[in-house]
Structures are given as structure tokens and as C-alpha cells.
Amino acid sequence: MTGSNRLSIVAAVLVWLARAGPVWARGPRGPGPADWIGIELEAVMFYLLGGLAAVCAVGCVLSSRVVRMALFLFGALGAVAGLYLLLHANFLAAIQLIVYAGGTLVVIIFGIMLSSASAAARYRARPAEKAAGAAVGLLLLAGLVTAVGRIDWSEGIAAAPSAPTVDGLGRALLTTYLVPFELSSVLLLAVMIGAAWLAGSGRK
């Protein structure tokens, strides 16, 4: 079984999950034992997926081999796709896996393979750089978390959309967001031509 085969199976399973919607969102609304279980399940899933994303992100920072970094990025992308499912963004979760994990990550891995001919090239940062980076990163994280924690976010929770969001998203893309949508298609064309030219221009 090849890697792309496996990826497509995973994508198919996730698209099915996205169509079916989160299991805990189908129960009866209103306070009751089912709702309580739903809340607990949501919390468990959030901590699982969020923990996976956090661990993978920290692994990205700490690992010195770029292939491992790509693997950690894959874990973080998958966990974020799961978080999109928790946030009822079913279509976005599928797109995250197809475009990000299936497209962008493959491009990154191609880049790694094509740029590591000098055997076992390791790019180590100097200790002073590492210390400065860690200090800045931790300071920024502390600042952001305290800023977020100062505000009471508990009120104004939106009602769960009952239907999958593909319908609304497609409608919005062709009405409200028509101009950015068309612009992004032009951008993709320009990127396609530009990347092909850039990658081939140095060849003698």
C-alpha cells in the first residue's frame, strides 16, 4: 500500500466524518444528561487534539532535522483539522487535510528531498540565538496568554449550525467574497507560472 493510497483513505474517512457531523451535535438540545455528556466529550476531544497540536508544534521548534519537523507539522495540521471538526467547520477540516496535508506538505517534503544532497546536512543554530529566541518566544506567549485571560469570553456562544457548512460557504464565496475569490484564482495562476519559471530559470 503506497503512501498516497493511505492518505486518500484517511481523507475519505475524514470527508465521511465531515458529512456525518460531530456525533455529539446530533443529540437533543437543552440541558440534560445527553448534553452533559456532549460537553464532556467536547472537552476531552479538545484537550486531546489541542495537546497533540501543541506537542507537535513544540517538536517543530526543538527538532534539528528538517524531515522530523515536516512530520511534526503533519501532526499539527491533522490535529488542527480535528479542531475544525470540533468547531463545526466540517468543510474546512476536509480542505485542511486535502490542501495542507496533501498538497503543501508534499511540496515541503519535495523541497527537503531536493535540497539535502550534501549528506546529512544539519543546520544548527548558535546557542546565543537559541537563548534569545526562547526568551522572546516565552515572553510573547506569556503576554498573549495573559492578554487573552483578562477578558471574559464565556458569554455569547453561537448556536450550532445544524447543516454542514458547505452550502453557506459556497454561497458566500460566490456573493460576498466574489472579488477575493476571483483574485485568488488569478493569484494561483500567477504562482503556477512564476514557480515553474523560477524553478527552471537557473538550468543551463
Binding site: I39, E40, E42, A43, A53, A54, A57, C60, V66, L73, A76, L77, V80, L83, L87, H88, A89, L92, Q96, Y100, T104, V107, I108, G111, I112, L114, S115, A121, Y123, A125, K130, G133, A134, V136, G137, L138, L140, L144, V145, V148, G149, W153, S154, G156, I157, A158, G168, A172, L173, T176, Y177, P180, S184, L187, V191, M192, A195, A199, S201, G202
Partner: protein
Amino acid sequence: MGSITLMHYLVLGALLFCCGLLTMVVKRNAVGILIGVELVLNAANVNLVAFGRYRGAGIDGQAAALFVIVLAAAEAAVAIAIFMNFYRHLTTVDVDRGDLLRG
């Protein structure tokens, strides 16, 4: 464990953002820096979708996140093409070696 609020997602987004920023700052491999950029974009996306869900903004958060994903894919393609050129000239992707324009 209590219910999950917007704050949980914002804290997770902040963590992802800081990890991505740190990756960009600390790594010297150009592809590693690109991976850091992707982490930062994902952190922004988590925030966008979470705000869209918990602040009742309808589909807007998800639409913005969709555009971010498109831009990330485009940016990765161009970045890898530039790295290929970089590698062809210098036989490395160490960004500290890319100082040919130094005055």
C-alpha cells in the same frame, strides 16, 4: 473538565503562533523557516474559525480561513521554487549563506 470556551482556542492559537515564530527565528534551514510560517498561518486559522463559531459571525471566519489556506499553498509553492534556485547557486539552503547582496 467544564465546557470549552473561546479562550481555550485562543490560548492554543497563541501557543501555535509562538512555536511558529520561534521556528522561524531559530532555524537556519530555509525549509524549516517555511514550516514555521505554516505553523503561524495555522494559528491564525484556528483563531479565525474559533471567533466565527463563538461570536456568531456566520460563515465569515471560515471563508477567511479558506483564503488563508489558499494563500499558504501559493506561498509554499513560490518559496520552494526560490529555495531550489538558492540551492542551485550555493549548494545549501542555509539562510545565513544568502548574503550575496551584502554591500
